[in-house]
């Protein structure tokens, strides 16, 4: 199968996997498991008091901005790498010359470097 089609289908499968919950469980609140875990501590040990609070808690808007920033920084690096690889493979194709040439000479052979 063509790689692009394969990756496209795989990404579609991921999207469906995370859209499915809203159809299976439409009335659910989808609260964070991390928060649910913290609440469960109170049922396991009622009366437990946090002995220290976060130094700084961002307002909700700032928090979502920081999460988006975190994802954007990561995506920037991944996108840079994928673009870099695409250009590298395009350049090596140009250097190799058109594939219909029979006589490439010794230098024309596999110049691709990894």
């Amino acid at each position: 199968m063509d790689d692009q089609l394969k990756y496209g289908l795989a990404i579609l499968a991921i999207v469906l996997l995370f859209a499915l919950p809203f159809f299976v469980n439409p009335s659910a609140k989808f609260g964070g498991a991390d928060d649910a875990g913290s609440r469960a501590i109170q049922t396991q040990q009622p009366g437990y008091v946090r002995w220290i609070l976060p130094l700084w808690t961002p307002p909700p808007e700032t928090e979502s901005m920081l999460f988006a920033l975190q994802a954007a920084l990561g995506a920037l690096v991944i996108g840079y790498f994928i673009g870099y690889e695409k250009a590298r493979s395009d350049i090596s194709k140009i250097k190799e010359g058109p594939h219909d040439k029979v006589n490439n000479g010794p230098e024309g052979k596999d110049k691709r470097k990894d």
């Binding site: 990756y7 795989a10 498991a33 875990g37 946090r50 130094l55 975190q70 690889e85």
Partner: protein, 217 residues
Amino acid sequence: MHIMEGFLPPFWCVFWYALSAPFVIYGAMQVGKLFKEHPERKLIMAVCGAFIFVLSSLKLPSVSGSSSHPTGTGLSAMLFGFTVTSLLSTIVLIFQALLMAHGGITTLGADVFSMGIVGPAVGFYAFLLMRKFKFGLGPTAFTAAVLADWATYLVTSMQLALAFPGASLWQSFSVFAGIFAITQVPIAIGEGVLIWIFFDFLSKSRPKLLAECLGGK
């Protein structure tokens, strides 16, 4: 898997710090050595860190009716081993603890232990084992990434159960695992598919570098 600030008693705070620190320090030494010996792998390592950044920021809905985030540590564990992954995870966890009040400084040791050490170690050894039995690179990368993610949340459940055993350790573990491990199943699978895509891409784009990183594994 983030245990929120102040939710681990001081004893467990110290305990998990002590257990995690050697791995992170060793990981930092490994990164320094790798940068000196194989500077051409810096970019791939940055990409591995970037996967942890992106995936650990995404809170995804699960069929269980709650939301949780993947860890993204599988890729780094397979390519660079789990101690390097410990260092990369620590960076992300500090960022989240200080800026987002997600996780905490007193719980950092425990969070690093689950997300940065045991999860990646499980992924790493699953990867080695499957390669040994000649499974293809695709299914192996998928399985290792899924297990690295899922193991992280099992460890978090165990850490909370140890700190708050309630009636019994097992009962407490089942309460916390009921929250974390079940939510995580579809999320880990989604993460596995994504890492498989990237691994497949890497095997075509940089076959030599990938082979060197895997070093005959």
